[in-house]
């Protein structure tokens, strides 16, 4: 970050901003850093009375500073320039003036400069993963920062990372433009392929973050200095915010980055104001909220918002907020997203408490219908939890009139509640909550998300998505139910929503059920909810013996968060004294939202946020700290915090990553794509966590999306595309399962056996991704809805792109579809061949081991596995180059590295078409065993996206090695495979995802069971891939001693940077 000198500039800027912006007061404070600081201190004292510990504050401050600087940039180019230089403290102060007391508190914390600076570095280091995202943001931010003189150093760093040395001033301008336009122009420049989404956000945010991270030490020192500057920036920032309109108001202080004030309605009805960078990802806000709540078991929750059609949507943490909410207000609600079927398994009382609040809300709103008795009983537990034992003296009957227990509350009910309340004497609040949940969870509609729809005959029905599957209601009656295991594929096309049902024991063919939704958006919404719920609840892999000690991840595919299994796993690691929290809700809930609530919210935040939180959760904590700080200084802090938050999410090696990225950038600075790659790379290595994967994956996908988006909506494409891409990823997740089924069914179609299995996911992207890719086509909708629709139409896509996971990701939706089909076509032919040599030399990160046990070997020995093998390395999402057709040699293994990602819709389609033929080729080669090693580097052609947007390209080296045993003809019927398990084990340095498909095929009375295991090992370059592969194969053999290994496909993807290392 820049030094104090910068602050001076900032000061200057601030006044300017003040002038510009209506919020004159800001300018005044800004004018004098000292004054600002003083104010900030005061504010801080007032606002952050609580506990913002120095350490926590420090990081937050740093972030804030950055953010502030960013906002300032956004606000005014001039300002932005100035702002970078301006120390954060100054900004904060300035902001603080405008900001509410609590915000000020944050600022004050930031002012603490030295402390903050120290903390900041720590945070940065800890939040490596976050940094990745941040890095993207950072790019933007950097751009912004660069504009600002003070921020020069950080900016430079950032710029390096980005590889794009943008003029600072320009950047600032860009940033503003971006904000306005969706990152379009500015982002395009700075953002390389991946960044699509992240890049944009990251640019702004990350710029600050990156700068911080990279120059952590520098920042520290700088931060102290910057403190003042930032304050100034903050002051400045408000102006930009004002410019943006919305809630930004005076609170927002952004030199470079525009800040937006988000209002989050908490479960207790209170309002939690949070200033975020305009381009902040959802994650940032999530972390802020979680931090405020002191919530660790956060995966069950989400943030919702109302779209323009007043429909409730879930905020995707991996995407920019602005792109998701579009023109809607920055008003969010903190809600339970996944209702745990058994709340007693939640680890912490605070989590149960929040779930109780949500359920009470659901009950009062009528979403969760209850009988009179149940209303009364639940109400009595709520009373017990909040008021304690019934006191006949103190509690008169009217004491509960403040509470609302039911949509329509009668005196009779209140009497019943009191009567029952008396029986709970001695019950602690936690016990009362537990009892509440024990009863609520049994309710028929517990956790069921209803969507209006029509069946094929036009009859009004309701689709209910829940933990167990999809429920179909007509009026209040359940008329059908499709458990997740029975659903092979979920898709939507236009306003239609389809599910493909696994054939029953006596049925030969799978069937599809279609529903008509009111519109395309609704169809997509249902689809997304299904994908997320399926992923969250179904992929807990009951079998999965947990190898990893840490998190077990189901397939994240589409759903970017942790699965329930993972969450539970993670929860076991929670080791903190039960956090104190105040139960205050019910009254507020019943009474509606009072202004007061904010106080409530802030309180918890204050208590937790500062120091304690950081210590509690490493990743989160770090982020949280930043966040916390930011929160206090909403305006100024917000922008920087976002970056930090991101970091927090992915708390891996942010700094290191950044460094790497920088190096990469240096190498590739010339091309934006390179920049993108760098980001991509950086993220993957440092982050073993899924988040990272997601992030990385998302970019690629985003690229695709962008392409599509571009076709449809050029303007929108930028943002939309990114979002879409992310969405797609999620979609793909679904696809996997679907694919599995399809395989069986499809088999008939093509004799060719394209084994989807072969597909190896890139290091970053798990196999699942491939699945996701398939789905994507369907899902793509979000940004480029039209495109998505088109894609949906394509569904059936002929192309059997055995795209590797990566490829799939990159591949346009259509491709994904194709893949699905392909997979379907592929028959799992069990080949009782000698075990293929496990000798996987390749260090392939992801190794796929397929075991086929054919009770009865099928006729054709030659299995066409090759197609499957085709790995598409989705390195650079941007251009959808289907490089896939790399030789499928021999019989089995075909490896295709596809560098798809033609963001342009048209491009995508082309790629698809190309792929199809390729696929065919793959299928053709029947060879018993074949080893295919393909190395593809996808560097070029990645930016295909719309001109405005540049998609970050990631260079990836892909090696695929396939060992096949002689296979019989798979042409037989492929019956739907079953996704038995999907588990991800994450340890410090690597992440292993194992996906098991079991396919049973009946041929001529012979039944063969084919088990495909996809093992994706993702991790740092220092992983011993050979050993990992050998271990995987060994385990596979041990698990299925009676089966033989027929093929081993190893696909290794390495990022360029990593390659260099290798």
């Amino acid at each position: 970050m820049t030094t104090e000198v910068g602050s001076e500039t900032e000061v200057r800027k601030e006044p300017e901003k003040a002038e510009e912006q209506p919020a004159a007061p800001e300018s005044e404070p800004a004018a004098t850093n000292q004054t600002d600081e003083a104010k900030a201190a005061e504010q801080s004292a007032n606002d952050h009375p609580a506990p913002a510990t120095d350490s926590a504050q420090a990081p937050a401050e740093a972030k804030e500073k950055q953010e502030e600087a960013q906002p300032a940039d956004n606000a005014t180019p001039l300002e932005g320039e100035d702002t970078p230089a301006s120390p954060p403290a100054s900004e904060k102060k300035g902001i603080s003036r405008f900001l509410p007391p609590w915000l000020k508190k944050q600022k004050s914390q930031s002012q603490v400069g030295p402390k903050e600076s120290q903390a900041a570095p720590k945070e940065e280091a800890g939040v490596a993963s976050v940094k990745e995202e941040d890095g993207e943001k950072g790019e933007q931010a950097e751009a912004e920062q660069t504009s600002s003189p003070t921020a020069a150093q950080p900016q430079v760093e950032e710029e390096k990372i980005n590889g794009e040395p943008k003029p600072e001033q320009k950047e600032e301008v860009k940033s503003e433009e971006k904000e306005e336009e969706n990152h379009s122009t500015g982002s395009a420049d700075t953002q390389p392929a991946k960044e699509e989404k992240a890049a944009e956000e990251s640019q702004e945010k990350s710029a600050a973050e990156e700068s911080q991270e990279k120059s952590a030490a520098e920042e520290e020192t700088k931060e102290a200095e910057e403190g003042g500057e930032e304050k100034k920036d903050e002051e400045e920032s408000p102006k930009p915010e004002g410019g943006h309109s919305f809630i930004k108001s005076p609170l927002k202080l952004t030199k470079k980055v525009k800040m937006v004030m988000c209002h989050v309605t908490m479960l207790d009805g209170s309002q939690f104001p949070c200033e975020v960078e305009k381009r902040a990802k959802g994650q940032y806000l999530f972390f802020k909220v979680y931090e405020a709540l002191n919530l660790l078991e956060k995966d069950y929750f989400g943030l919702s918002y109302k779209d323009n059609a007043d429909q409730t949507c879930w905020l995707d943490p991996t995407k920019e907020i602005k792109r998701q909410i579009r023109n809607a207000t920055w008003q969010f609600a903190f809600n339970v997203k996944f209702y745990p079927p058994d709340p007693s398994q939640l680890t912490e009382d605070i989590t149960r408490y929040l779930l109780c609040l949500q359920l009470r809300q659901d009950i009062v709103s009528g979403r969760l219908p209850c009988s009179f008795v149940t209303h009364s009983l639940l109400g009595s537990y709520a009373l017990q939890a909040e008021l304690g034992d019934h006191d006949s003296g103190e509690h008169r009957l009217d004491y509960i009139s403040d509470f609302q227990f039911a949509p329509s509350q009668t005196k009779e009910m209140e009497e019943k509640v009191v009567e029952l309340h008396k029986t709970h004497r001695g019950m602690t609040p936690a016990q009362a909550d537990a009892q509440f949940l024990e009863n609520a969870k049994k309710l028929s509609m517990y956790g069921v998300d209803l969507h209006h729809a029509k069946d094929s005959e036009g009859v009004d029905i309701m689709l209910g998505v829940c933990a167990n599957g999809l429920l179909i209601y007509k009026d209040r009656l359940r008329i059908n139910r499709f458990a997740w295991p029975k659903i092979l594929k979920i898709s939507y096309k236009r306003s239609n929503f389809y599910i493909k049902i696994r054939p029953g024991e006596t049925e030969q063919f799978e069937s599809s059920v279609g529903f008509k939704l009111p519109n395309h958006r609704a169809a997509k919404r249902v689809w997304k909810v299904c994908v997320e719920n399926h992923t969250f609840f179904r992929l807990m892999t009951p079998e999965a013996p947990i190898k990893a000690k840490f998190l077990t991840l189901g397939s994240k595919f589409r759903y970017s968060g942790r699965t329930q299994a993972q969450t539970r796993q993670a929860s076991t690691l929670i080791d903190r004294p039960a956090p104190y929290f105040e139960r205050t809700s019910s009254k507020r809930i019943s009474r509606s939202l009072d202004g007061a609530p904010m106080i409530n919210v802030t309180e918890p935040q204050e208590s937790a946020p500062t120091s304690g939180e950081n210590g509690r959760e490493p990743g989160l904590e770090l982020s949280s700290d930043f966040k916390v700080e930011e929160e206090p200084s909403e305006g100024a802090a917000a922008t920087p915090t976002e970056g930090t938050e991101m970091k927090g999410d992915e708390p891996d090696s942010s700094q290191q990553d950044l460094d790497k990225t920088q190096e990469d950038v240096l190498k590739h600075q010339a091309s934006i794509s390179e920049l993108k790659r760098s980001f991509m790379e950086a993220t993957p290595e440092p982050r073993p966590s899924q988040w990272e994967k997601r992030l990385t994956a998302s970019p690629a996908t985003s690229l695709r999306l962008q392409a599509q988006g571009s076709a449809d909506d050029k303007q929108k494409s930028g943002e939309a595309a990114w979002q879409a891409a992310e969405v797609e990823i999620e979609e793909t997740v679904v696809v996997k399962e679907i694919r599995v089924a399809p395989k069986g069914s499809v088999t008939i179609t093509t004799p060719e056996v394209i084994t989807p299995v072969a597909v190896e996911s890139e290091v970053e992207k798990p196999k699942d991704e491939v699945m996701e890719e398939q789905k994507r086509p369907v899902s793509m909708s979000s940004d480029s809805e039209e495109e998505e629709e088109e894609e949906a139409g394509e569904y059936h896509p002929q192309v059997t792109v055995s795209a590797s996971v990566d490829q799939i990701k990159e591949e346009p939706e259509e491709e994904g579809e194709e893949e699905e089909e392909q997979q379907v076509n592929e028959e799992p032919v069990a080949e009782p061949l000698p075990e293929p040599v496990v000798e996987v030399k390749a260090q392939p990160v992801p190794a796929v081991v397929e075991e086929n046990s054919a009770t009865e070997p099928q006729l054709a020995p030659v299995a066409e596995e090759s197609p499957e093998d085709i790995l598409v390395t989705p390195d650079e999402a941007p251009n959808g180059h289907a490089e896939s057709p790399e030789g499928h040699q021999g019989p089995v293994a075909l490896e295709e590295e596809e560098e798809e990602e033609p963001r342009v819709n048209g491009d995508a389609s082309h790629s698809e078409t190309e792929r199809l033929p390729q696929v065919i080729c793959c299928s053709e080669p029947p060879v018993v065993k074949t080893e295919m090693v393909t190395i593809s580097d996808t560097f070029a052609a990645q930016k295909t996206e719309i001109a405005t947007k540049e998609v970050p390209i990631v260079h990836t080296e892909t090696k695929t090695i396939t060992y096949e045993a002689a296979q019989l003809d798979g042409s037989g019927d492929g019956e739907p495979g079953v996704l038995m398990t999907a588990q991800t084990i994450t340890s410090e340095s690597l992440c292993t995802t194992t996906t098991t498909h079991i396919t049973k095929t009946l041929k001529g009375g012979l039944s063969e069971t084919r088990i495909e295991k996809r093992i994706v090992i993702t991790g740092d370059s220092d992983i011993d891939h050979d050993q990992a592969l050998a271990q995987a194969i060994k385990e596979a053999k041990e698990q299925h001693p009676d089966m033989s290994v027929t093929r081993v496909v190893v696909h290794k993807e390495t990022e360029l940077a990593e390659e260099g290392e290798d």
Partner: protein, 284 residues
């Protein structure tokens, strides 16, 4: 919550005597033996009272209502809520009057299906088409029960999932299945029953043990976990379903109470037709 207790915990049984007009429905002369029917009724009520230990409330027979003995049809009771149904036959709707009084006396919350002519117009519902498993309701859509009736049921018992299942023409849901325990469904072996069972299995979130009996008449039993915490199963005797009794003996630790209902069977009735089972023990 109503669902706190597993299925089968009852304290009261409401029955209605066999009228002299038993079997004389729609002016059709049947071969029913009134005296035998009354004897069988006596055995049943005796078993419920003395063996199972339920408090028995017997509503006097009303000659004006020849089918009033099928008291099961008139109300659906869960927890402390009693839904007074609307039988398909117009002439049976008067049967509800006496039942309604009894329900009120038992302090049950009485809900009228036909009370409000708004949404329930045309709704018909009979208790013999309703299977409550303790966790959810299944409503057989039959000639006597329609969707509207099921909707009212769902609206009444909001805590529970109410699923509709198809029932073969001419039969009632309770003709082909009944509860044989908290998680056990006894179902007949007929194709129609299998079809219904498949649908039930598809619709439910829970897992039930299925006890398949070869004879249709054996599919309707009355399971009660009496106050003594013993499992009782009233089932048709060997004379009526010789092949199914071994199946019942698979139920371990059950007290099997063979109870004849051959006369009722001639009229399409079954064991559960005779009684409404209620739990008045507070469970909070």
């Amino acid at each position: 919550m109503a669902s706190v207790l597993p299925y089968g915990c009852f304290t009261h049984a409401v029955v209605r005597g066999i009228p002299e007009t038993f079997g004389k429905v729609d002016n059709e002369e049947t071969t029913t033996d009134l005296a035998k029917a009354q004897r069988q009724f006596g055995v049943l009520t005796g078993a419920l009272r003395q063996k199972v230990g339920l408090q028995l409330i017997e509503i006097p027979a009303d000659p004006e209502l020849p089918e009033s003995w099928r008291i099961e049809d008139v109300a659906v009771i869960q927890g402390d809520t009693a839904l007074i149904t609307r039988p398909f036959k117009q002439q049976r709707r008067r049967e509800a009057e006496a039942v309604r009084r009894v329900m009120s006396e038992l302090n049950l919350t009485v809900v009228e299906l036909g009370a409000e002519e708004g949404g329930s117009v045309g709704a018909t519902l009979e208790g013999s088409d309703v299977l409550f498993t303790g966790r959810e309701f299944f409503v057989g859509i039959s000639s006597h029960t329609n969707h509207r009736g099921a909707e009212v049921l769902a609206d009444t018992f909001r805590d529970f999932t109410v699923s509709t299942v198809p029932v073969c023409v001419g039969t009632r849901l309770k003709n082909i299945c009944s509860m044989g325990g908290p998680d056990t469904i006894i179902i007949s072996n007929s194709d129609g029953a299998k079809k219904t069972l498949r649908m039930m299995e598809q619709l439910t979130d829970h897992h039930y043990e299925v006890l398949t009996v070869p004879e249709g008449a054996a599919a309707n039993c009355v399971y009660v976990r009496g106050p003594s915490k013993m499992d009782f199963l009233l089932h048709p005797p060997t004379e009526e379903c010789p092949d199914s009794v071994p199946a019942f003996q698979k139920l371990t630790d059950y007290t099997l109470l063979p109870t004849a209902c051959s006369e009722a069977s001639k009229l399409g009735g079954h064991l559960s037709s005779f009684c409404l089972l209620i739990n008045r023990k507070p469970y909070f």
